[in-house]
Symmetry: C2
Subunit: 300 residues, 2 copies
Amino acid sequence: MSVLVAGSMALDTIETAEDRVEDAVGGSASFAMIGASFFAPVSLVGVVGEDFPEVHLNFFRSRRIDLAGLQRLPGKTFRWSGKYLPGFVARETLCTELNVAEHYQPKVPAAFRDPAVLFLANDHPRLQTAVLDQAGRPGYVICDTMNLWINIAREPLEALLRRVNLLMLNDEEARLFTGQESLLRAAHELLGRGLKAVIIKKGEHGAFYLDREQMFLAPAYPLETVKDPTGAGDTYAGALAGALAKAGSVHRASLRSAMLYAAVLAGFTVEAFSFDRLKRASEGEVEERVRALREMVSLD
Amino acid sequence: MSVLVAGSMALDTIETAEDRVEDAVGGSASFAMIGASFFAPVSLVGVVGEDFPEVHLNFFRSRRIDLAGLQRLPGKTFRWSGKYLPGFVARETLCTELNVAEHYQPKVPAAFRDPAVLFLANDHPRLQTAVLDQAGRPGYVICDTMNLWINIAREPLEALLRRVNLLMLNDEEARLFTGQESLLRAAHELLGRGLKAVIIKKGEHGAFYLDREQMFLAPAYPLETVKDPTGAGDTYAGALAGALAKAGSVHRASLRSAMLYAAVLAGFTVEAFSFDRLKRASEGEVEERVRALREMVSLD
């Protein structure tokens, strides 16, 4: 039961109130595929430039990630730099260089078609649609997006959303997309526009899932230390995709369990820059945190 | 199994982005005792002035609330006025007139002593301590507070906290009290100072409970409409006190169940000014929302 992840591969420069890191591995697909790799074999469709360090690619390979759909194009890798305000109350994008991502055309290898779960990680809706068009018949399609695409590519995004099983977006993006202040209203409005299901992520406050039959209020994993939230949402979505692929079907219990695993893995991402902590998380640590989180939300 | 509530009785003038109300019934004790009255007989220790409308007192009486500990003093009732920023992202206090509350000395009637649960609703720690001193041997003591007392009466507040079973405060107050940005750290630090248990309330994001044995992540009841959050925290705490009194003992399952009931009743408070919606909530509506909320957090 494999997961196909498509999205951006980046080198990030990130400033927090306490620290700074340059050219850290980032991008929506990087975080997502590591999150997914805890649960299932993963294949990637994406692009990097000539400068993307081989050591990171080897790390991805070491995690059962098939890079046959990764293009290495002449030029520089997509770069993003951002700055967090103290207390991580807001994030400012300082600079975005598309570089090789600008004229990139995704190609899905034949062997990657018909995945159990297809995760269209945050990227231009045009690229997400191109991947979906080539992906055969995925068992379940999850799509993430961000404020930039809601602002500049709303039409292709809305067309894409009619073809996916689940949209993930954060609280701010949900408000921007719908004009609704109440997240519950925003979620209902998205379903009213024909979307099948939505997860609205609220960072340290958890997330909630809504479809026509159920609503699930999912916790975040409580942390004492927040080092860098970059990639937490991508990790969350990737882990969710992986856990659903492992479960073999998407139903009420598998979905709710997958959202606990997703919260735990996103927590590891937040505890360090890039995926420095996530990559050291053992299966035992993941299971232990999920067990603790179950205890924290259990009503018995 | 009765609840003794002590705290402020006020007339509030409140401005939101969309509306305004003058001289609405408010005060920490008012909301708390209505919340508690859904579950248990309630008695009140508090003070009002000559201007406090009799119609409200009759409403309290109609809800099994014993007002024998309510003093009516010459002068005006305590008045508070505040203004919410759009989206309820922050609240500004415009004016506070202590009036009869300034020189008030609480007196606990003999019949009110040894309650199953004593709730010291938000008020000056000096007054809260005076009530505790006269309350005999309460089965369980819950204390609420606010940023004002943390700033100007920290010493009596800290002395009081060593004598209670549970402190309730909101996220902002927890950070102010401890200097910790992480709410989990803040909660641990409060326990480290000798407090037995704490609930940190996060408004629409729910609340969490921490003691030395367990942590519980409790949901808020999701709402489409937010009209006025004033009193939601007081309702939450009062409902919790009432539900625990009804359960007859405080243990893991009764506590967790009580926090769901508290979330539902606080939700009713938020849906209208004052307790206009809360007071119309039927037992059937409360049970229906609690049932729905259980579904929304269940892992099965």
